[in-house]
């Protein structure tokens, strides 16, 4: 029966090629616009670390006071100053903890005679690697003991290691970054969770993978300044490196790992207690104001998803909805035009169910054609998405199997749903009436 109905559908669609084309084009454009903008949206709004996003938290401490809050909304600063960051590390109130800041250093990839290039990385603590589940190709991260001894060690990314050493195992070799030597202890596999949740106090959060990771303590000894944001309040009378460390300038991204809700509550209490202590000591002139957001909450709070991505997706979905309304109208016209034919089929014994089947299959056929057109348009659109979004965001959009499947599924499902009402009307045609008038 399916084959027969499919054949009927093709005949019917061929009868009004212009109308059929219009439906297919509407579905194709509607689904393509939605899928192109969705491919960008899913890339920028995804969970960068799905299996641990509920265990990783970033503590915030209000070191500026309510009158100087970041956006005038009473929220604490989005990063820590040096004093508070160091206090958190010393207290060690979490299972694992790290401080993070971006650094940029020069490197001579082909020895002393080559032109220097710029490499970007992060100053982190040894806990960074197990906390964020960084996968290693060679070697491993460094130990907490090496944090304490301020060891000159470094972890390279796979891509950066290949640039320096080719495919050879670089572990144990020396690399000169920004004029200082480091011993390579590990080489990661490709690892670049996006949005880059762990260091959002800086560039947009959608950068290329980092080239290297070096110990936070070592970076401070070498006075490597942050390549990310630095934000201060009040009179900046303290000058020089030491003065900057003692100032209220915030520039450090702190992260802690807390496994149970009990640990989270305890850590929150610890932050409150720390702030209260600072108030008693006269450093803060206000009541404790702290936050402890997990990865998902942090991404939402930091508005990582660019507004244009949201607006585009929204407008595209509205566009798709209109295309569907359009299809409902056209299908209704198309089906009701065949009231006579339906009357005859019904009189000859076809059940309503069979009429339903016939017309839903016809609609499904339109959906398949629309989906295929949508697929072509989506592929073209995604490759041209650089015209519509910033380069670092546009490069995240790609066509994969799931997007292809989704495009087809959405096109067919939407068309079939759009056909429910017209098919219902067709199935309820009164056979007697139509037999009489014709």
């Amino acid at each position: 029966m399916f084959g027969y109905y499919f054949d009927l559908a093709l005949r019917s669609l061929k009868r009004n090629p212009a109308l059929t084309m219009l439906m297919v084009v509407a579905i194709g454009f509607g689904v393509a616009a939605s899928m192109i903008t969705y491919s960008v949206f899913r890339a920028v709004s995804g969970n960068p670390i799905p299996d641990k996003s509920a265990q990783l938290f970033t503590p915030q401490i209000d070191s500026w006071g309510p009158q100087q809050s970041f956006n005038g909304d009473g929220e604490p600063p989005q990063a820590l100053d040096y004093t508070d960051a160091m206090a958190l590390m010393r207290a060690h109130a979490a299972k694992r903890q790290t401080l993070i800041y971006p650094v940029q250093l020069s490197v001579l990839p082909g020895g002393d005679r080559s032109l220097p290039i710029s490499a970007s990385g992060f100053a982190v603590y040894g806990d960074f690697f197990p906390m964020f589940e960084v996968p290693f190709h060679y070697g491993s991260g460094w130990s907490t003991a090496q944090d304490d001894t301020r060891a000159p060690v470094v972890v390279l990314s796979r891509e950066f290691s290949q640039k320096l050493f080719g495919d050879a195992d670089g572990v144990g070799r020396e690399v000169n970054l920004g004029g200082h030597d480091y011993r390579v202890v590990g080489v990661t596999r490709h690892w670049n969770p996006l949005p880059r949740f762990y260091a959002l106090f800086g560039p947009s959060g959608f950068e290329q993978p980092a080239d290297f990771y070096l110990p936070f303590t070592r970076a401070l000894d070498l006075r490597i300044p942050t390549a990310g944001n630095n934000s201060c309040r009040g009179n900046q009378t303290k000058n020089g490196w030491e003065g900057w460390l003692r100032s209220n300038c915030v520039w450090i991204n702190p992260w802690v790992e807390l496994d149970t809700s009990g640990e989270v509550a305890r850590y929150r209490n610890f932050l409150e207690g720390y702030s209260a202590d600072q108030r008693r000591a006269g450093r803060f002139g206000w009541a404790p104001n702290v936050r402890l957001r997990d990865v998902t909450q942090w991404l939402a709070y930091m508005h990582v998803v660019p507004p244009e991505s949201r607006i585009s997706l929204l407008v595209s979905l509205g566009f798709f909805l209109i295309c569907l309304v359009n299809t409902v109208g056209l299908l209704l016209a198309k089906f009701m035009r065949r009231a006579g034919e339906i009357g005859i089929r019904r009189a000859l014994g076809a059940s309503r169910r069979e009429i339903y089947m016939q017309f839903l299959i016809e609609a499904g056929t339109v959906g398949v054609a629309g989906g295929l057109l949508g697929l072509v348009l989506t592929a073209a659109g995604v490759s041209g998405v650089g015209l519509l979004f910033r380069p670092e965001i546009a490069r995240l959009a790609h066509v994969d199997l799931s997007l292809v499947a989704l495009t087809l599924a959405v096109a067919i499902a939407a068309t079939v749903i759009a056909a429910f009402y017209p098919s219902w009307r067709a199935a309820h045609v009164q056979p007697a009436w139509h037999l009489k008038t014709n």
Binding site: Q104, P116, I117, N235, R310, V315
Partner: protein, 410 residues
């Protein structure tokens, strides 16, 4: 033209009527919001920077050597001397940033040293006496920096100086009565700075939503940045020699010293490229909204053509009877045109409410601005015209139905 019979006829096509009205309503809601977004984004694109864009380019120069601040300072001076000697170059300056860079340095500004809440915010640029000539700024009051006022800025040092040049926008914000020249203000410091010069216009480093309230508020410190990172060289080419100067500049700098990093891809950017990058998401959004609007109007128009054609086909007999009873072709044409006007009228009435509702929702959720009602009015006119245009061909076909049709049985 009588409306009563049209309404009576529409009652027999409830679903179709409703669908067209709904489609017109939704189209109106999307199209006027999209047009509003396009207009907003395009208005960003045409904002002037106040600088000599056509002949400017910037070099992102990072240091590869560990140099002392004194060495950095000396290197910058010799780099600038080399750049200024190039045949295609008119002038050059070293700074921490440049307009539309998309990020930079900004300071809170207060009128007293102990004021907790800021008066306003300004982008900070560093430069020597060449800054104004290189960027092509118009000095409208006061004077340029003297050589002895320009001092080096050490790493992690707070940038402030006894004298400063500000933009007119900043001067007017601090001293609204136009008396800013010679007056003091504070920038996160206990000692004041004095305004010695005012330039007509200079755009900020960044033009994102956050900085819109402070648009064109910028100040120039007479400082030379000796930080370990690097510096931006802003270079003004002689008229018509931009491309040549851009090529020469990179070579000249590497000839000075090899231990620097100028990215092969975007280390040297013409200001046209800078502007293109600064507004790429605005431009992209406008393009996307434009495409969606155009396709949407085409599909809605085609949908009306399709449905009306179907109705015409269905009513051939009735049309024949009316024609036989004396209705002119014009009457039939008018009939379908009026019918469409009624449906489209209902559609745009609902659509206007939807459009305003969508805008209000986007204002809350996506920090959009309020849409002027003019956009809704324009949208209504466009959709009514679209409806009339779309209905014309099927309606004319209807008007050509011969009265003979009345006598046919099928």
């Amino acid at each position: 033209m009588q409306i009563q019979p049209i309404l009576a006829a529409l009652r027999h096509h409830k679903a179709g009527t409703l669908l067209i009205a709904l489609q017109i309503a939704l189209t109106l809601a999307i199209v006027c919001n999209a047009l509003f977004i396009i207009q907003q984004r395009l208005s960003h694109l045409s904002e002037p920077t106040g600088i000599e864009e056509a002949n400017l380019f910037v070099i992102d120069n990072q240091w590869a050597d560990q140099m002392s601040p004194q060495q950095t300072d000396a290197q910058i001076q010799s780099d600038l001397a080399a750049l200024r000697q190039l045949p295609g170059v008119r002038d050059a300056v070293s700074s921490n940033s440049y307009p539309l860079r998309g990020g930079g340095w900004d300071d809170f500004i207060t009128m007293t040293p102990d004021q907790v809440q800021k008066t306003t915010d300004a982008t900070v640029y560093f430069g020597d006496a060449h800054f104004i000539d290189t960027l092509g700024l118009k000095l409208i009051a006061g004077r340029n920096f003297r050589a002895d006022e320009v001092t080096p800025l050490r790493p992690q040092e707070h940038a402030t100086s006894p004298v400063v040049i500000v933009t007119k926008a900043l001067a007017d914000k601090l001293y609204p009565n136009g008396s800013a020249l010679g007056k003091p203000f504070y920038t996160m410091d206990t000692t004041p700075t004095t305004i010695i010069g005012i330039v007509a216009r200079l755009q900020r480093s960044e033009v994102d939503n956050w900085s819109r309230p402070y648009a064109y508020q910028a100040l120039i410190w007479p400082r030379r940045l000796d930080g370990s990172f690097g510096t931006y060289y802003i270079v003004r080419a002689k008229p018509g020699q931009l491309a040549a100067a851009m090529g020469e500049a990179r070579k000249a700098l590497y000839a000075q010293s090899r231990m620097r990093i100028i990215d092969p891809k975007d280390g040297v950017l013409s200001f046209a490229q800078v502007r293109h990058r600064a507004y790429d998401s605005d431009r992209g959004t406008a393009i996307l909204m434009g495409i969606i609007c155009a396709v949407l109007l085409v599909i809605t128009g085609a949908g009306i053509v399709g449905l009306t054609s179907f109705w015409v086909g269905q009513r051939r007999k009735q049309i024949g009877i009316r024609r036989a009873l004396g209705a002119t072709r014009r009457d039939i044409l008018r009939y379908f045109q009026t019918e469409n006007l009624l449906i489209a009228g209902a559609g745009v009435a609902i659509g206007a409410i939807l459009a305003v509702g969508l805008n209000l929702w986007m204002m809350r959720q996506l920090a959009m601005d309020r849409m002027p009602l003019l956009y809704v009015l324009a949208g209504i006119v466009v959709l009514l015209l679209l409806g009339q245009g779309a209905v014309f061909a099927p309606a004319r076909r209807a008007s050509r139905v011969s009265p003979v049709e009345a006598t046919r049985s099928v």
